[in-house]
């Protein structure tokens, strides 16, 4: 028990951990960020739907790249995550709660 | 068309490289005038020539192959011409400074 605890806490203090955390934030978090924001965008853009979807898909990689660069620019890994999660949660909430109620239709 | 545009881009880049101090020094050294300095008017003239050469090449490409293909040609030629220019500056000149 004690040993397990110590390994866990040792792991939490490992110098490589923030880096690992950032890499996950960049690759996974950035991907989710790009998707959620672009989905909102594709709902909001005027014009035919296929057009909005296509332009969103084309732009998604720019959003992704932007997110990755943000993650490695942020001062700490925690800040990096925060900067990603806030827009993700906001846009996810937007999608889950507002859109089914027909606010956008 | 390609050859003319290539020559134009090459001349354009040559003129532009002359306006850069480091390359101007290289070039003047190779013709035994290491201390030569360009006047302001000369610089301006070279810059204009350089940009004109590049623009003219673009015009020719677009005139010949239409907007889309013409711009692709032009971009490609710019790359090749700039690369040749840089190889010319480092290998093609008679630099006996060292």
């Amino acid at each position: 028990m004690n040993v397990a605890l110590r390994t866990v806490s040792g792991f939490m203090k490992h110098p490589a951990l923030p880096l690992l955390s950032r890499i996950i934030a960049a690759i996974v978090g950035g991907y989710v960020f790009a998707n959620t924001t672009v989905i909102i965008l594709s709902y909001l853009l005027p014009g035919p739907q296929y057009n909005a979807v296509l332009s969103g898909m084309l732009a998604s990689y720019l959003f992704y790249a932007f997110a990755i660069m943000w993650v490695f620019y942020a001062k700490t890994a925690r800040k990096a995550w925060l900067g990603l999660l806030v827009p993700i949660i906001i846009s996810a909430a937007f999608l889950w709660f507002l859109i089914p109620q027909g606010l956008l239709e | 068309m390609i050859i003319i545009s290539f020559i134009l881009t090459f001349i354009g880049f040559f003129a532009l490289s002359l306006t850069m101090q480091k390359h101007a020094k290289q070039i003047f050294t190779s013709i035994n005038k290491p201390r030569y300095r360009l006047s302001k008017i000369q610089m301006k003239l070279l810059t204009t020539t350089g940009h004109l050469g590049l623009m003219l090449a673009a015009l020719i490409c677009i005139q010949h192959s239409g907007w889309a293909l013409g711009l692709v040609y032009w971009t490609g030629l710019l790359t090749i011409a700039a690369f040749s220019q840089s190889m010319f500056l480092s290998y093609g000149l008679n630099t006996s400074q060292r």
């Binding site: 690759i27 790009a34 057009n51 992704y64 790249a65 660069m69 | 850069m20 907007w67 790359t79 480092s90």
Partner: protein
């Protein structure tokens, strides 16, 4: 503040470039080779006789038709591809009707014909240039979808490396032409900058459009969010196709294809077309499609479609264009990006510019990785501690940067040396490529203690030179399509391949020679393994 930004971007640039660098190098090289995939296909099937670009197509069509009537009299679909432009075979394709009881798809077939006699040519089984090119996005030995995700991830890393590279390279215009030879690390940096900055439009285009190519695999959520499971609704509205008519099941004698061909030739005002194909043959709903040569801007010139019984012209070349104009700007942007990536529209000189830009891309990755290693080597030499990771990277660098070209040469060698009737020979060709590629770094790593790295470079460069230079010779010994004959016949595709191999081999030889001389010089003072740039391109 600004410095911190630049510092973090420099870190990101270094690592996003290095981590998947070898896969990226592989993608760049195979993709670049792919700009000549048809030409390589031709070289790798030397049994096919030379088909002149200028032969009478009506005659070729009648030969092909004879053969089609013999092998696939009931085919519902058949096509004749003519030897024009980059394509050097007279080829027929067909598909038999599907089984009426089981609903199974009918058998498909393809044959290359002798353009003089119309007899089928038995060509060796090979993946050809098409396989080489396909590997740059579908890799090998793995399911397609897995490969798509891997290559997309690599492309994303490349994209990041490019953007951060622009951000950190402050002296982008000041150093525009700068190359200082013989200054070791400085020269590598110069070369890295030149090969990145000068073809930058190409690099950005190729990386971004590469991502776009696979976006329906990697970004499916955006599509699903709007269309649910109904993907087709999206594709139908974004990329409307001229719908193909179903067969009616009522018999009707199809029109003679040669009349259609002649009419199309007049319509296009060309004596040469690319292909003619017929759908629903001998059915009231038969359709004949004829494709012209050439391009309309960046996309293929539109085909003509004829009613297959009456011979009435159903679509004019302009009708598809009108549609896309009424479509959205983003559809055009998407199309333009894909066309730019594939570069099918590029005539010879532009194709070579594409090829050189692609090589510069590979060179950019290679010099980047060499820089990484040489910087760390310098530090390690000062502190006297060389880490295992550094040694590994150094050897993977040689084994990939020179090893992969060697492996590709080995692929061509295998094409000529593996017995023609061996079962699964086409698999062994590609296995050879990967086996040789694997041997290169392993071999250099095993003997790492015994010899300096620069010697390994020199050896592998020499091997590459030998393998490329001997390819035309091998071609001479094993086929009747060697330089002596292809020159006389005017078979420029065949001759062009051999000549290109000689040029590549010579370049490798020069690089090997330079490396050898430099290594001999560097041997006495220090055991420094930093390497002078040997111009590889």
């Amino acid at each position: 503040m600004k410095d911190m930004f630049r510092e973090s971007m420099r870190w990101l640039h270094t690592w996003s470039g290095l981590v998947l660098g070898w896969v990226l190098f592989f993608m760049f090289i195979t993709g670049t080779v792919g700009y000549f995939s048809y030409e390589i296909d031709r070289w790798m099937q030397p049994e096919a006789p030379y088909a002149s670009n200028t032969s009478d197509q009506v005659h070729l069509l009648s030969l092909a038709k004879q053969r089609l009537d013999l092998v696939a009299p009931d085919a519902i679909y058949s096509s004749v591809n003519f030897p024009v432009d980059r394509y050097s075979f007279l080829r027929i394709n067909w598909e038999n009707p599907s089984n009426k009881i089981t609903g199974e798809k009918g058998e498909r077939g393809r044959e290359i014909l002798n353009p003089q006699t119309g007899e089928p040519v038995v060509v060796r089984k090979t993946g050809g240039g098409t396989l080489l090119y396909r590997m740059h996005y579908a890799l090998h030995y793995m399911p397609r979808i897995v490969a798509y995700w891997i290559t997309s991830l690599c492309a994303m890393f490349m994209f990041i490396a490019l953007i951060t590279g622009i951000v950190i390279h402050i002296r982008i215009f000041k150093d525009f032409f700068t190359f200082q030879p013989n200054k070791q690390q400085r020269s590598w940096l110069d070369m890295h900058n030149l090969m990145s900055v000068l073809p930058l439009p190409f690099h950005l285009m190729i990386t971004y459009s590469g991502l776009i190519f696979l976006m329906f695999t990697t970004m499916p959520g955006i599509l699903t969010a709007s269309y649910g499971d109904d993907d087709d609704a999206f594709f139908d509205s974004a990329f409307p196709l001229t719908t193909q008519q179903e067969a009616s099941g009522v018999y009707a004698q199809s029109i003679d294809l040669s009349t259609v061909l002649v009419s199309a030739q007049q319509h296009f005002n060309q004596s040469q077309v690319r292909y003619i194909r017929i759908q629903n043959q001998n059915d009231t709903h038969a359709q004949v499609e004829v494709a012209p040569r050439g391009f309309d801007g960046l996309s293929r010139a539109n085909t003509l479609v004829y009613q297959g019984v009456s011979g009435e012209l159903l679509s004019t070349p302009n009708s598809k264009n009108d549609q896309s104009e009424s479509g959205s700007a983003f559809v055009s942007l998407y199309d333009a990006l894909l066309n730019l990536h594939e570069g099918l529209f590029a005539p010879t000189i532009l194709r070579w510019i594409y090829f050189l830009s692609g090589l510069a891309g590979a060179g950019m990755i290679a010099t980047g990785m060499i820089l990484w290693a040489s910087k760390r080597r310098k530090k390690a030499q000062k502190s006297g501690q060389v880490s295992k990771g550094l040694v590994l990277v150094e050897h993977l660098n040689v084994g990939t940067i020179v090893g992969l070209p060697i492996a590709i040469a080995a692929y061509f060698w295998a094409n000529r040396l593996i017995p023609i009737h061996l079962v699964g020979r086409e698999n062994w060709e590609i296995n050879t490529l990967f086996i040789v590629w694997a041997i290169m770094p392993v071999y250099s790593f095993l003997f790492a203690k015994k010899r300096p790295l620069s010697k390994v470079w020199a050896e592998q460069l020499a091997l590459a030179a030998l393998m490329y230079l001997c390819l035309p010779l091998l071609n001479l010994l094993t086929t009747s399509q060697h330089l002596g004959i292809s020159f006389v016949q005017g078979d420029w595709i065949m001759a062009g391949f051999d000549l290109t191999m000689i040029v590549l081999g010579t370049l490798f030889a020069i690089a090997a020679f330079k490396m050898h001389r430099q290594q001999a010089q560097a041997l006495s003072p220090t055991k420094n393994s930093a390497i002078k740039p040997a111009l590889k391109i």
